[in-house]
């Protein structure tokens, strides 16, 4: 395969136009402007990206609605991380900083569900406090968060109860203040924005670390 980079560059442009977190509507001639090419090439780029599975499209007489797939996102993340490696010294640990916020209360529910609970105990090696701490990441940490997507985590399997299906996810062990242990839980399918993380811990973190909504907190991924 040759000319791969041109396609990735086109994918990057689509992401910058908003295709990363939603649908971007454009026509070939429009897109051609953005990538400085002829409309034909722009059209071909979109075809190629679709065939590679990096985007999905809905073609309409007035143009097309484009969305970047998980796979496409992965390609961009890999690219991003390579550039990141160039400009940042290799640091052993990933640090994520943000502010405590109140979540949807789901945390308390699913940490007590046997299907998840038993996996947490077995794989994370601690008894999770019923509830999660939600952190809205700030500044650089938002970008840093995407690094986790490339890091192997502890896989939590999904399962079925009689009524519904519970999705899987993955965890990363972290250290909080005062030697407090915990884990970031990232559901496989989430409608949470990328800049919010959920922490499971054996402790009631709000109590132990004296946290309120808005408190600044840093977690250290191991």
């Amino acid at each position: 395969m040759v000319g791969v980079m041109e396609n990735i560059s086109a994918l990057k442009k689509l992401a910058l136009l908003g295709g990363i977190d939603g649908i971007v509507t454009l026509s070939s001639p429009e897109f051609a402007e953005h990538i400085s090419s002829s409309p034909q090439t722009a059209s071909r780029r979109l075809q190629a990206l679709e065939q590679s599975g990096y985007i999905t499209r809905k073609i309409e007489p007035s143009g097309q609605k484009v969305m970047i797939t998980k796979q496409g996102r992965k390609v961009l993340e890999t690219e991003y991380m390579e550039y990141r490696r160039i400009f940042t010294r290799p640091s052993t640990h990933i640090e994520l900083t943000g502010k405590v916020i109140t979540g949807l209360g789901e945390g308390q529910y699913y940490t007590t569900l046997k299907g998840y609970h038993d996996q947490f105990v077995r794989l994370l090696e601690f008894e999770p406090y019923p509830g999660t701490l939600n952190i809205k990441l700030e500044g650089e940490s938002v970008g840093c968060r995407t690094m986790l997507n490339l890091k192997d985590g502890i896989i939590i399997d999904g399962f079925n109860s009689k009524n519904r299906t519970f999705g899987g996810g993955r965890c990363y062990l972290v250290k909080l203040g005062n030697g407090t242990k915990g884990a970031i839980m990232i559901p496989e399918r989430t409608h949470y924005p990328e800049d919010i993380i959920e922490i499971i811990s054996p402790d009631n973190l709000r109590e132990k670390l004296e946290l309120k909504d808005g408190s600044k907190i840093t977690v250290l991924v191991e």
Copy 2:
């Protein structure tokens, strides 16, 4: 021009091989492996990059010594920042965090030099304390620092004294703790690593903020 991205991709590889902060020694066949191409194409890539002014080379019978130029670095930085924009929400402010270190003592010298001093007073609108605070950036901030290269700063002109030439640079106004004002000074030509920044301020920052070597500090670029 077509196939630009292939060249930038090759430049990225060179950077990852160490060409960003020094000289990388390799032969065309070697480089060909890295970019998955024939030695001919690898050779052509290097030629093209040289012609674009992105690298300089010294060709020797045993191979070549390659170095990425300022211009080449700029290209990579632009690329990096584009990817960064995709994955991080646009935040108005850049935050840099690091630890206080002891510098070379130059700061005290040049903040008192009339040629610089007067520009600081006029452009930064404060009387600089004689001395600078050196901060070694940590983790994400190292990458964040490169963002400054793309941001317009306050230009400090160089000047000549009878004996020597003093180089120019640029400043960025920042806020430190407790509403303390200051500015990052980045000399145009520095042998300082990219992960160290120098802060000028009207105050003696070590005293006012009670800083010692190793103290953690965050500066907020305006």
